[in-house]
Amino acid sequence: MKIHEYQAKELFRKYGIPTDNGILVSEKGGDLEIPFDPPYVIKAQVHSGGRGKAGGVKLAKSINEAKEIVNNMIGSTLYTKQVPDGKKVNQVLITDASALTKQMYLALTVDAAREGIAVIASLEGGTEIEEVASSNPEKIYTEVIPYEIGLKTYHATYIAKKLEIKKENINTFVTMLKNMYKMFFELDCSLIEINPLVENDNGLIAIDAKVNFDDNALYRHPELLELRDTKEEDPKELLAMEHDLNFVTLNGNIGCLVNGAGLAMATMDIIKSYGGSPANFLDIGGSATVERVTAAFKILLMDENVEAIMVNIFGGIIKCDVVAEGIVEAAKAVELNVPLVVRLNGTNYELGKEIISKSGLNIIYASDMHDAVIKTVKASRGEL
């Protein structure tokens, strides 16, 4: 789960991680009262990195200029490298444009391969760290903290030295990094990123803040669910989440309904390699009840670009006759108006096929994955 910069900064303050003060504005045209002096930075609050380059971070030298920027930014759509389809800006954060003298990068994340929490640090902050990683990998320092002992002063001091932190600020840095580590564990984070972390005459300040949480651990933190901004999430993905379906929106025209994440990815791949374009990733998971299959169809059909649907089920534990019943019921319930190609294999597939053919519905049956993809791609072009 992702949260906004201003929410992440609230958590930072709670955990004693130095950050700047800002005010959140969610309406345009209002009387802007900023309790600190210009210059200001105005930042779009959207769930995406690379906001600066996309025009989502702007400098204002006066209150009037700030007003103008706020009015232009709220309601606009931001097209970042990470979210090329665009994100609508509903809120902006106004902060003090501190002297951005020395910009660093500092992050914590789980390092699965090395079985620990990795502290990633670089003097090349302010830009996208991925770019530094590919052009100057030697400028990124990674220290994996062993789970059993946790982050010790010597880890933090080592990182502080690499970041050339001034002597008088080293203690602050050590405390800050320890607090970040504490926050990472207490809140089950999957990422805490500060980019940039600034060192100036006032000490250390987190100018930006990015915090992601482990979805699998959210049950331990009901309070964090209140931070979820549903406006930031794709309505289809939200609806899918309610029905416990794994769904990701893509931008093609073939809706996919598959059981299992690996097979669902493979289905996207095969559609593409046969000249089609998948509209989504959808894993209906281990139990294909009528309700779930119906919900899945409804979600697929919410996408106006969908011109054909491919169902690809390999029944292991799921029985194909049960899935077939679900498909028939769902197809009736949602008034299916695009071609539907169904491939069933595995447990009870003969029964499943019979149910489909007896249903009297206009469902195209496919014998295997290869057959299914060829028929679906043709159907999506109106050639079937």
Binding site: A133, Y147, N216, Y219, A261, G262, F281, T347
Partner: protein
Amino acid sequence: MSVLIDENTRVIVQGITGKTGSFHTEQMLKYGTKIVAGVTPNKGGTVVFDTIPVFDTVKEAKEATKANASIIFVPPKFAKDSILEAIDADLELVVVITEGIPALDMLEVKRYLHGKATRLIGPNCPGLITPGKCKIGILPASIYKKGHIGVVSRSGTLTYEVTNQLSILNIGQSSAIGIGGDSLRGTSFVDVLKLFNEDEDTYGIVMIGEIGGTGEEEAASWIKENCKKPIVSFIAGSTAPKGKRMGHAGAIISGGKGTASDKKQCLKDAGVKICETPDVIGEAMYELLKEKGLLEKCLVK
């Protein structure tokens, strides 16, 4: 021969009285797996499926039944403790089916595993099968044929798809192992490849990877140095967008790393035959075996 499990493996089911645990216990019993005990806290002393005793703890179950393996179906909330309990009881093999275990919980488990006797498979995996002998997991038994190809995969249903393609071509399997879709997992591709490489009964290997993590890249370097057996591979997720989690917790391209094309290139460089689409994996294995003069030995009589 086979890897990890055979007709002598004695299995405990942790979470045997739950809906999923109970259903799959029945399936495994039907396949001939020696399920010797169940564990559900506070249900000790009861008996399920007429003959299987239920215990409160794994240690008691092991003491009473000489079990050497366990399969875990408990919900994510309690999974960490169940896994630690099984490791603490010194079971040789622990298979975790549970999906959705928090990363920090698995981190603790993985660190505890060092220096222990236990081989952990999963979590978030379909388990493993040695056709004709033993199944510890949720894999659909009907598609498997006894034979000589080792199958290893991060995904469940995609493995079924591939196994089915092999079986239709009459190519049987020595063992099939699902290592799971999470990034923090007990057994890696390299671990399984080592087992298959040493197994005299395995003549060829199918490896199904997917985007995210570095397991496939590590496998490629190991294969290059150590493995002479023919290997066919498919990597799912070529069309997946960056930064979006594709169902599995481990299937995400982040920081520009873990893309399908990188993984395919590494494997190609290691001499692995790559399938660009998932519908031709069986055929690719068939052709490769033919080329190596192994086909006759691999066909089910």
